[in-house]
């Protein structure tokens, strides 16, 4: 029985992997992530140019040129969209019917989708975080702090790892949101609000509330998890708890909604 379950599980995951690979939107969103990374590199290139032209006194006022701050929220949106589409594309095209006829155990199906969302998030997160890191290393060279956040390349490792983790979490959260709302437009709007709109919105709040809100937003969890210099309020443990909370909340809501509603 356990062997059959294992085989059933493996087959369900393999089928979901095949589905995500065969969706054109997957490749479009990956291209979006690539474009965001390239755009981030261009912005960094311009910033470095301005830095080089500045006086030594002006250079001291430059903020850290951490590319994950500029690039990763957009990457999170595009990779999250892939996660959401794992569920919403099936509702939009009514192919959720055949999917459930093939795997009628809804928790198993959601588990297989979550596994694939996790793998996509992990792979894409690592890819784009490393690319952003490589861009920064190439463009910043041996320039000093504060513009260079990583005087040694090894200093970047915690940030790259944590950025990868946060992209993975975003992909899982987006999948859970997709299972709750079942609509691609609604899911992408919510994911966009979480990773792109809310951080901007937070800036308009009074400082105390700005920090409270900003500290629990997905894009800002990366520096808090990495323990690097940041203005936010959470310790590494607190950031880890909030990160886990996002996954737990979104996936539980998604599984419950998916399991209880008629398809």
């Amino acid at each position: 029985m356990t062997a059959l379950l294992d085989r059933t599980w493996r087959d369900a995951v393999a089928a979901e992997w095949m589905k995500v690979r065969s969706l054109r939107s997957t490749w479009a969103f990956l291209a979006g992530g690539m474009a965001a990374t390239a755009l981030g590199a261009l912005i960094l290139f311009m910033l470095v140019g301005a830095y080089d032209a500045a006086t030594p006194a002006e250079r001291l006022n430059y903020e850290t040129a951490d590319p994950t701050v500029v690039t990763m929220p957009f990457v999170m949106f595009f990779v999250g969209a892939i996660g959401a589409m794992l569920v919403t594309s099936e509702f939009a095209t009514r192919s959720i019917g055949p999917a459930l006829l093939a795997v009628p155990q809804r928790r198993l199906l959601m588990g297989a989708k979550a596994t694939v969302a996790g793998l996509v998030g992990l792979g894409c997160g690592a890819l784009f975080a490393l690319l952003a890191f490589a861009d920064a290393r190439l463009l910043l060279g041996d320039r000093p702090a504060p513009i260079n956040p990583w005087p040694q390349w090894t200093d970047a490792i915690p940030t790259v790892l944590c950025a990868t983790l946060v992209v993975t979490v975003t992909c899982l959260v987006a999948m859970g949101i997709g299972a709750v709302v079942r609509s691609t437009a609604a899911a992408l709007t919510i994911v966009g609000t979480l990773v792109l709109v809310m951080p901007t919105f937070a800036h308009f709040l009074p400082t105390v509330w700005q920090l409270r809100l900003a500290s629990v937003l997905l894009p800002n969890l990366t520096p808090q998890l990495a323990g690097s210099d940041h203005p936010y309020l959470l310790s590494q443990g607190g950031a880890a708890a909030v990160t886990a909370g996002y996954v737990l909340l979104a996936l539980t809501a998604g599984v419950l909604r998916f399991s209880r509603r008629d398809a």
Binding site: L4, L5, R7, T8, D11, A12, A14, A15, M18, K19, S22, L23, R24, S25, S89, E90, T93, R94, S95, I96, G97, P98, A99, L100, L101, A102, V103, P104, Q105, R106, R260, D262, A263
Partner: protein, 322 residues
């Protein structure tokens, strides 16, 4: 083969509306069973409950003694088509089936084989979005056949098909049943059922109205006998004494209700009255179906066309006489 579908007091309510009401029946292997009812009768809801897509409010639907969602790798046991459009338009036919097949441990060779079986091998790598309705129906059936299942369920499979497609589905279903499989198809078209199925389950407003064979249904609703004789007045007297109700039809022929054709022949021979024609007339299955479901139809326009009304009266009087 030899798998059976059982419904036990299956009920589905949406708020105050009861879509399926304590439905109990069995669908047996080796024959094509039709699931017939007007629009809104609860056919699709019932089939979706059988397949675990909708959850029953109470009761259960079992396939070979198990709920569908308890079956591991169900494509090996049950094949179903509920919606011809249920495929991602951006995927090719082959990829669509390969994704389903992979989830049940079915190889790509089988995908190619079923595409060939339904006549889609030539367009296997074309996107589903460019398929006609008939091609999508064939793709759905290919998906249902992937695991070579013993039970096949199809919801309104001939909707929108051309004549060739309808003929293909009919022959496919009959051939599946002949192999000993359990085949259930739903339709709101009695005319289609009459030429495709062996048994019929008629439902209206979510309730089972009839569970019978097509032949029993025809026999039960025999309407009257048309008699042509050169001596209608004498034959009328003879048949009336037998207890029949006899009326002239205006062409010089007689219509006898309440007596069958052999009895009319015997009585006429005994009285020495020649008979030139003797035609038992049944209500069409369409008429019978309309009569049975007339009070159970969810949505129906008022019908004023004379032929249908006349047929209904005939069928109704035949039922009373039975």
């Amino acid at each position: 083969m030899g798998r059976m579908i059982e419904l036990r007091e299956l009920t589905k309510r949406y708020g105050p509306t009861t879509a399926v009401d304590r439905l109990s029946c069995e669908v047996r292997p080796g024959v094509v069973t039709g699931f017939l009812g007007p629009n809104g009768a609860g056919k699709s809801t019932t089939m979706r409950m059988m397949l675990g897509l909708h959850r029953p409010t109470s009761g259960e639907a079992l396939i070979n003694g198990r709920r569908y969602d308890r079956i591991r790798r169900p494509l090996h046991e049950v094949g179903a088509v509920l919606d011809a459009d249920a495929a991602h338009p951006g995927r090719s036919a082959f990829t669509h089936l390969a994704c389903l097949a992979r989830s049940n441990g079915i190889g790509r060779a089988r995908v190619a084989a079923v595409l060939d079986e339904v006549g889609l091998a030539g367009v296997a790598h074309k996107r589903v979005g460019g398929f006609s309705l008939g091609m999508r129906q064939r793709l759905g059936i290919a998906g249902a056949l992937l695991g070579d299942p013993a039970v096949v369920l199809l919801d309104e499979p001939v909707n929108g098909l051309d004549a060739a497609g309808i003929r293909w589905i009919r022959s496919t279903l009959r051939s599946l049943a002949a192999q000993g499989r359990t085949v259930l198809l739903s339709s709101h078209l009695m005319s289609e059922m009459a030429v495709t199925v062996d048994r019929v389950l008629i439902i209206g407003k979510g309730r089972l109205l009839e569970d019978t064979s097509i032949h029993e249904m025809r026999d039960r609703f025999e309407r009257d006998v048309l008699v042509r004789t050169p001596r209608p007045a004498e034959l009328t007297g003879v048949l009336t004494r037998l207890g029949a109700t006899v009326t002239p039809n205006g062409d010089g022929d007689l219509i006898a209700v309440g007596v069958d054709a052999p009895a009319i022949g015997d009585a006429a021979a005994h009285a020495g009255i020649p008979i030139h024609a003797l035609t038992p007339r049944s209500a069409t299955l369409e008429d019978v179906y309309l009569q049975m479901t007339s009070s159970a139809a969810e949505y129906r326009a008022t019908v004023t066309a004379a032929p249908t009304s006349a047929a209904l009266v005939g069928a109704a009087s035949a039922k009373e006489n039975n």
